[in-house]
Subunit: 257 residues, 2 copies
């Protein structure tokens, strides 16, 4: 079966299935939700802080980030969204969004109607449970970010973010073994770590000098994965991913295509 004919919600469904086993009717119900596929440019907004939305989006392709601005205009990035992530579960049940979501790269999203999703959750307990689990796992990542930004120095923060991103990509089956394309400018990396772009630059160079990363433009490679994890005080526990040996084993996962 050709790759291009993959259902746009494939990754999302797989993500859900990690958390909770859904039976066939549940999966059917999700896949048959009325949806609209949209292509977006880098920088376009998926959600704008303070506004209410009719639909919830799932990221199919490309990257996005959550962000919030302070009163004096500085920005904090709150999460990185990768393909398969539900971008605004918040808006499904809360009235207006407490943060913005913006595309990091160009990409594709699927819009689902808020109403439909609410009905789905109310009608299908297993889906509700899966949504709860996804939300809880996301909260766990947020807690780790609070720690990262609150109690780690610049070097640790950056190493940690790199580790997290790499592991999450790999868990979704995206990104290669020999590094990945970091879809961020150093300024954006600064806004995710609570640092200045200048300092991010210096730390990246230091990490490179210490042999923890190789960079070629935005492409990052980890010559010493273990050392990088250590430098970033990183442990994958908080991501609540399935055990590593399951990741590369497609058996038991729903074949959606």
């Amino acid at each position: 079966m050709p790759f291009t004919k993959t259902h746009p919600l494939k990754l999302f469904l797989r993500e859900i299935s990690y958390h909770r086993t859904l039976d066939e009717p549940d999966r059917e119900a999700i896949l048959n939700l009325p949806m609209r596929v949209r292509k977006l440019d880098a920088g376009s907004y998926l959600v704008r802080e303070g506004s209410a939305f009719e639909h919830c989006s799932v990221l199919v392709d490309g990257f996005a980030f959550r962000q919030k601005l302070t009163g004096d205009g500085s920005r904090q990035i709150l999460a990185l969204c990768i393909p398969g992530d539900a971008v605004d579960l918040q808006n499904m049940f809360l009235d207006n969004s407490d943060h913005s979501v913006q595309m990091l790269t160009s990409g594709t999203i699927v819009d689902l109607r808020k109403q439909d999703l609410q009905e789905l959750v109310l009608a299908r307990p297993a889906v509700a449970a899966a949504v709860i689990q996804i939300t809880l796992a996301e909260a766990s990542i947020l807690r780790e970010w609070v720690v990262n930004v609150g109690r780690r120095d610049a070097r640790e923060r950056i190493a940690h973010v790199l580790c997290e991103f790499a592991v999450r990509l790999e868990a979704r089956g995206i990104g290669g073994d020999d590094g990945f394309e970091l879809p961020m400018t150093q300024e954006q990396l600064a806004d995710t770590t609570g640092l200045t772009p200048v300092h991010v630059n210096r730390v990246l160079k230091a990490l490179e000098a210490d042999g923890l990363i190789n960079r070629k433009r935005r492409h990052i490679h980890f010559p010493n994965w273990r050392a990088l994890q250590q430098a970033g005080d990183f442990s994958r526990q908080y991501l609540h991913l399935p055990p590593e040996d399951v990741l590369h084993d497609q058996h038991g996962l729903p074949a959606v295509s």
Copy 2:
């Protein structure tokens, strides 16, 4: 009806009801859950990072906090729990806890069996929806904390935490109009803001000198609420509380006693 005969889950149920209207059978089901009431001393653990639990706790009386340690042993406080908060919804659906929860003061908790809660959620869509909303609101607070610690200076951070705590207390009908008892040492406040105790002390004194707070031991009073909010870049939006005028109006809320 005497205050002492209040049902221990009263505040929790009220909190749930803010988010979603539950019908009588739903509320009954929650109140009839088998439960165990326990009194705990300050400092005792409700949840320990990395371990699995049989039950989920709801804080009835006293205060608690979520925390995580870094590799080098420093601590970050991730959330303050006030009476009526469910302390470990995480453990209800995720296998082992990604952080610890510890009592800040002495207090009382109610343990509910994990199993029972799961069944409740699976059987009652409205309860599931309420749990999702509570979890989403908690995530929103976490996002604000990332911003606080990532992009605000010491003075703003501390003012912000004070505002948040005061507003949350008031929304639960706890704490007085003329200030409140901050149940934290300056060291703990440092761990919630990503600062050192020494610096927290200096900032508190500065806030006092500027007429933004009055302190008498741990009791804090806000002579100029508006100015403090401004100093902390605080806006209650992210707390997803019901509109202010509903708060002091008990009509429409379930009378649980």
